[in-house]
């Protein structure tokens, strides 16, 4: 007897978590609950990455999505009071179009994806060395550009949300 049955079971649980969490983000009207369930979806997704043998990506996933992006979105939720109301999802003009569009594309894609029947091979010894080698050799230039993008985003976010301090503005005028 071996542990072979564990992987499909874990995969099934994780995929239920991912899909249910994602659906709840779209369907729930309580926005804080949606944000927390989004974090749950991201965690289940990290579990899937571990199943695929990409532990480093899983760690980045939790670090960036759960630790940073969810918290940022919660910040946004707390700073903006709103009443999404019951009309948020139903009875609006885009809903039928959205349903038709999504169904028309999603069902063929989901069916098509099952043509990939072979099991993914598991690499030995983790994905960290290979990933690091790729990032810092073949993809060194995109990596630098990505860092410039992050810097630009940071400066842009600060510039957009900066409120002029009235006291400082008065000081500047006096000078």
């Amino acid at each position: 007897m071996t542990f072979d049955f564990v992987e499909p079971v874990v995969f099934a649980l994780l995929s239920i978590g991912v899909i249910a969490g994602g659906a709840a983000v779209v369907l729930l009207n309580r926005i804080t609950a949606a944000a927390l369930l989004m974090a749950f979806t991201f965690l289940c997704m990290a579990g899937m990455f571990v199943l695929l043998g990409a532990e480093t990506i899983a760690a980045f996933q939790v670090l960036i999505y759960v630790g940073a992006i969810t918290v940022l979105i919660l910040y946004g939720v707390m700073f903006t009071k709103f009443s999404d109301g019951p009309r948020a999802l139903f009875f609006q003009k885009q809903t039928p179009i959205a349903a038709v569009f999504v169904a028309a594309v999603a069902i063929p894609v989901a069916l098509f994806s099952f043509t990939f029947t072979s099991a993914p091979p598991r690499p030995g010894g983790g994905d960290l060395p290979a990933l690091a080698t790729s990032v810092f050799t073949d993809f060194a230039f995109p990596f630098e550009i990505a860092s410039v993008l992050l810097l630009a985003a940071m400066v842009g976010a600060i510039a957009l949300t900066r409120r002029d301090d009235p006291e400082e503005a008065a000081m500047r005028r006096r000078r």
């Binding site: 995969f11 995929s15 991912v18 983000v25 960036i64 940022l72 885009q94 894609v109 993008l149 409120r163």
Partner: protein, 103 residues
Amino acid sequence: MTVPLGAYVAVSAVLFFIGCAGVLTRRNAVVILMCVELMLNAANLALVAFSRKYGSIDERGSVFVVFVFVVAAAEVAVGLAIILSAYRNRPEVNVDEIHQMKG
């Protein structure tokens, strides 16, 4: 018994279209941002799964996931900044109501 590649891709596709439906139907700007994050994440899963099958020696697919992370972080920071500064001008996060720029 192992999980076939198609199962991962199917989960990824389903999550992507859930996010897509959310972007199309929800009116709250913050929720739209969340749904975009879901779509990006679904793409990540597909990338990692295919990287396992076709490039497990140099992890090229996973490298692309790292760049998606960078873009997602930048996007959420700037997106929230835009939402907050729009909210400051007029306390409203319903994207249907933000139309002052309309000619």
